[in-house]
Amino acid sequence: MAIMNIREAISSTLMAEMERDSSIIVLGEDIVGGAGTAGGPEAIGGIWGTTPGLYAKFGADRVIDTPISESAIIGAAAGAALAGKRPVAELMFADFVGVSLDQLWNQMAKFRYMFGGKTRCPAVVRLIYGAGMNTAAQHSQSVYAMLTAMPGLKVVLPTTPADAKGLLTEALRGDDPVMFFEHKTLYGVKGEVPDGEHRQRFGEARMVREGGDATVVACGRMVNFGEKAADKLAADGIGIDLIDLRTTSPLDEEAILDSVEATGRLIVADESPPRCSLAADIAALVAAKAFTSLKAPPQMVTGPHAPIPFARELERAWVPSPQKIEDAVRRALAFR
């Protein structure tokens, strides 16, 4: 076991997997950085610091710095994957999905099905997402629910360094397109990472806390907030099952339903606006399949039906927080 942060877990996994498998290529804006400048290539290593050293080791054929052209980045990844390579494309901000949506939605996601199961599209798209840094409406969004809704895509959200390694390795070994979401405030989160090969299956949720009084389902940064809420609730004798989904597609329905059947109360924390969100999806799942177990209405902890604002006061009002999760658990417990 080595102690490292999520950024290091991702960059070291990319390095190790590229060494292992020569079909893996990476591409994106400034993932090398400094191409065509006096400072020369490798001046950046990705603005998030997740791709340093790859260019020096694997060269320009496999580590491709692209112009600002998101449609072309994702489209090229789709094509390279059809042609037998394993591309890892980076969207510097997940919000730029908007620019490249067709290549994800109508192309990558649908190839295998449309072509009668005769193709594979093993592309990994790394999307840096999330609010909390005052990056305002076009650089803060968590678009995982939208991609989760698209049949053909797998959606992955690591919250620990071990899972970052395990899930990224799994994505690179699998043969389906994977949307790999990295929360911009979590890169510095440190933890133990297994040495050597470490794969984490998709569709297998992680129990972060266990308790008998309520089920809190979360993904991404909301898991970390859920832990803070759980600690405060535990001081009052309230125990929660805190479920880190790890992947929203495939979804570990079993972990959610088994837990709700035991606790009778569901809280979903989702860093999104409420409509057609992951929170709404899971609340509907539980209402449909665990209705008789419920002691209180499902509680959705989401942002408001509004874009993410810039000013600190407004962004903090927007983002679901540990306090809001704690309040929702108490609301569910107070239901009579």
Partner: protein, 323 residues
């Protein structure tokens, strides 16, 4: 070319305001009081002002993430902009947008934009609207050497040619798309204007660090577009004095690169030299403008720092007109 004295003073004032605004932000951001992303326009002042000095409030521009200069050149209120960047309730966009999303429709500023390449199609739409209004107005997109590589920009140029829209594509080539050089990222190396020509429109080229060169080229270009000849483009060769965003360590710069740019490619220095040689303006006149601008920026920062924050209860206001 003979510009009246008042217009010369005005042009200098607008450029100096942009410079002082950005230099001051560079200082203030270091304190951490201003959050989020801020992309400074320093070095490109002659481009924004040389273009916008030909425009009225009814001509509409679409800007970029590096938009403070375009806002000031187009006439946005400097104090309200500063409040916006500080995230204040009375900011130009009520603290919701911040540096990257400043807009003021009342002066024809359709918005800075966080998505590279998003603006050009919108400028075509504004141009189509302007033609319908029949007042000889234009829709104008500022884009950089980054946005020129987006499909949206290509589509916008073709559409503008197809519908003969009075659209203007201004490409400010500051030679860096974020952290990557234009010699790498722009396939038609150092020549963006040729792309516009390839789409079938006339294109001009000018020195974006020279107010007069930019201004003259834009005069010709706008005469051409306003005469109903369809869209046109211009590539302005300019420089970025700071990083991609504030906090960018800029390790991609060469040794002494920024000092050299500030020495040889400073549009304000060039302006002073030019009006001095031609005896158009007295240096004291420009010094007085500098002092007034410094005063304005000082007030803008003082007022912005003291301004009330937004009310968190308003977080979901203004999502719709009516809901």
């Amino acid at each position: 070319m003979q510009l009246p004295r008042d217009e010369l003073i005005g042009a200098y004032r607008r450029m100096a305001t942009i410079r002082a605004f950005e230099e001051r932000l560079h200082e203030e951001i270091k304190t951490g009081e201003i959050v989020g992303f801020t992309h400074l326009y320093c070095g490109q002042e002659a481009a924004a002002v040389g273009v916008c000095d030909h425009l009225t409030d009814e001509d509409m521009i679409v800007s970029t993430h590096r938009g403070h200069g375009h806002c000031i050149a187009k006439g946005c209120d400097v104090k309200a902009m500063m409040k916006e960047i500080y995230g204040r309730r009375d900011g130009l966009c009520k603290g919701r947008g911040g540096s990257m999303h400043i807009a003021d429709l009342s002066v024809g500023m359709l918005g800075a934009n966080g998505i590279v390449g998003a603006g050009a199609p919108q400028a075509v739409g504004a141009a189509i609207a302007a033609r319908l209004d029949g007042k000889g107005r234009v829709g104008l997109a500022f884009s950089g050497d980054g946005a020129c590589n987006q499909g949206t920009t290509f589509e916008a140029m073709n559409l503008a040619v197809v519908v003969k829209a009075p659209a203007v594509f201004v490409f400010e080539n500051n030679h860096y798309s974020e952290h990557t050089g234009d010699s790498y990222a722009v396939g038609t190396s150092n020549d963006i204007a040729s792309r516009a020509e390839a789409f079938g429109m006339r294109a001009w080229r000018a020195d974006g660090c020279d107010y007069f060169d930019t201004y003259e080229a834009m005069r010709e270009l706008l005469d051409y577009v306003r005469a109903g000849n369809g869209p046109a483009a211009i590539e302005l060769d300019t420089e970025r004095f700071y990083g991609h965003f504030e906090g960018d360590p800029q390790r991609y710069r060469g040794p002494g690169e920024v000092d050299r740019l500030r020495e040889t490619r400073d549009c304000l220095k060039a302006f002073r030299a030019r009006v001095g040689e031609a005896k158009l303006l007295d240096p004291a006149d420009l010094d007085r403008v500098d002092a007034e601008v410094a005063q304005l920026i000082e007030e803008a920062v003082t007022e912005a720092r003291a301004a009330p924050p937004p009310d968190p209860a308003d977080v979901a206001q203004d999502v719709y007109v009516d809901y």
